[in-house]
């Protein structure tokens, strides 16, 4: 644990990996509803098409029921869709780290031997991002 925190700190210090400014559209409600199980992703992280797929699929969200009350769904959905990022052709519902948006922002960790040595999965956002948030 201490080793990979150190690696993340080192990476944060040497590149812009984990020091992204928080999105102004990451509302407290999105943080609460999306951030209970994983870090809440900013609207810009996915295209409108992808957000709609995620929001429509919450009953089986990567193997879990992540449904929210309809009123909440409409409120957070509006923010996520209205401030969505550009459509770069990523698969609709394949996981954050499989997409081009994510890859373009993690060039310094993908294939980086120092990072690979930690054994941290690319799906483990928290390994680096708890230190600074998104």
């Amino acid at each position: 644990m201490r080793f990979f925190v150190l690696v993340c700190l080192l990476m944060a210090a040497t590149s812009s990996v984990a020091d992204v400014a928080p999105s102004p559209f990451l509302t407290p409600e999105i943080r609460k509803e999306c951030g209970s199980c994983h870090p809440a992703f900013p609207p810009e992280a996915m295209s409108k098409r992808q957000w709609i797929a995620v929001l429509n699929g919450l009953k089986d969200h990567f193997g879990e029921d992540a449904t929210v009350p309809r009123a909440v769904l409409l409120r957070i959905g509006e923010t996520l869709v209205n401030h969505a990022g550009p459509d770069v052709g990523d698969p609709a519902h394949a996981g954050m780290s499989k997409g081009e948006w994510w890859r373009s922002r993690h060039k310094s960790v993908i294939g980086n031997t120092l990072y690979v040595r930690t054994g941290i999965s690319m799906d483990n956002c928290i390994a680096c991002h708890t230190l600074t948030g998104f």
Binding site: G63, E64, D65, I126
Partner: protein, 136 residues
């Protein structure tokens, strides 16, 4: 009486705990009203709650055969979501705000009973679960 820092802190904490206890009891009372409509109900049971918590049902989603899949087997210790985020302990003694917000309680029973059991929990099961956690 001279107000030491501890007394001052206590003055704030004690009412907060009392309010939380009242809120939790109100939720439990509501569940009891519903449970009485189900056949054979004679009160909530911490033992049944424990069994609900630890049993591997394997009837729900593949990755969540039991509550303990994410919450861990010891309610006094925290758990971890499949995505790696820490979950506060379920035991009331460790997380006093547990089971005090009706909206939160409703949302998570709905999601997680579906995840683990592939069906909604009954009022009796919810009451048993909370009763067990109140003694932990």
């Amino acid at each position: 009486m001279k107000l030491t820092p501890f007394v001052v802190i206590g003055l704030f904490i004690l009412p907060a705990v009392a309010v939380a206890d009242d809120a939790r009891q109100a939720i439990l009372d509501g569940l009891a009203v519903q449970a009485r409509a189900e056949p054979g109900f004679t009160g909530f049971s911490a033992d049944r709650g424990r069994s609900l918590f630890v049993t591997e049902f394997k009837s729900g989603k593949v990755d969540t055969p039991s509550c303990t899949s994410c919450h861990g087997t010891n309610p006094a210790l925290g758990g971890r979501t499949r995505a790696g985020k820490d979950i506060d302990p379920m035991a009331v003694s460790k997380t006093p705000q547990r089971y005090t917000d009706p909206e939160k309680v409703g949302k998570w029973f709905e999601r997680n009973c579906d995840n683990v059991l592939a069906r909604p929990c009954t009022a009796k099961e919810k009451g048993d679960f909370i009763t067990f956690m109140m003694g932990q």
